[in-house]
Symmetry: C2
Subunit: 150 residues, 2 copies
């Protein structure tokens, strides 16, 4: 494997990111890789929010992974700032390569750099492999995650 | 019960908010109501982020509840914007009064107003009463929540 770069996503990365979002058992039902317009609009919203960090992992010029890190100030836990990881995807060709670990370790390091005291994420209850992965990396499955579609 | 107002928190509300954060089985171990300085600094960070909405519920001039709503743009689910509810606290005198429901319903309505397609939260696995409360309000406990202290 050649060197990996993790860098902020730009709009030219959108087709590759959306393809990864859709190439997933859950994502296949809720993404529309043939129509990028909602993603382009969302990318503009992300670019306009300095607390959002959408990154891609690139190897040999190809986008092979992505995640979104959100920095959230707050009052609880003595005014702790926390970060939230969302939208972690690894290209099918790279699964098992350690790229997921590298991406999450990047997110943890960036959270520290931004003075976060806590990093958190939710994972669909059906993604049992992902749960073991996060526990190996040192996360504690201490919470239940509740969602409501609007 | 008299009329309830839900409004953005201001810095004068901090002592009452911190007292509620600390008056909680988990919060008692991790808050410092006798030293407001970390909370004052965190309040400034919240005020500087237009995607943060820290609100208080006020009855008869007294702060009796609080929550924080964060609006998070994203690419997944066809570029959905989601909101995240954190730091929900109800004053001990008001528990069972329906105020929790009013606060969460406010957060749901505000999320819709801000064009969110999804509202989510995590709740400590030990807070079983809270889990039933969120399910009654229409949330689905579909995820596991992972956290790591930094």
């Amino acid at each position: 494997m050649n060197d990996l770069e993790i860098r902020p996503a730009d709009s030219g990365d959108l087709p590759a990111i959306v393809a990864m979002l859709a190439d997933d058992p859950l994502g296949a039902q809720r993404e529309s890789p043939d129509d990028l317009s909602p993603y382009t609009a969302a990318f503009e919203r992300l670019a306009g929010d300095s607390h959002q960090h959408l990154v891609v992992a690139v190897r040999d010029g190809r986008v092979v992974g992505t995640l979104q890190l959100t920095v959230v100030p707050g009052l609880s836990r003595r005014g702790s700032t926390r970060s939230i990881i969302e939208g972690v995807r690894i290209h099918a060709d790279e699964r098992g390569s350690g790229l997921g670990t590298q991406l999450i370790e990047w997110a943890i390091a960036e959270s520290r750099r931004q003075n976060c005291q806590l990093v958190q994420l939710t994972s669909d209850a059906t993604r049992t492999d992902a749960h073991r992965f996060y526990e190996r990396l040192g996360f504690e499955s201490s919470h239940l995650g509740f969602k409501m579609n609007l």
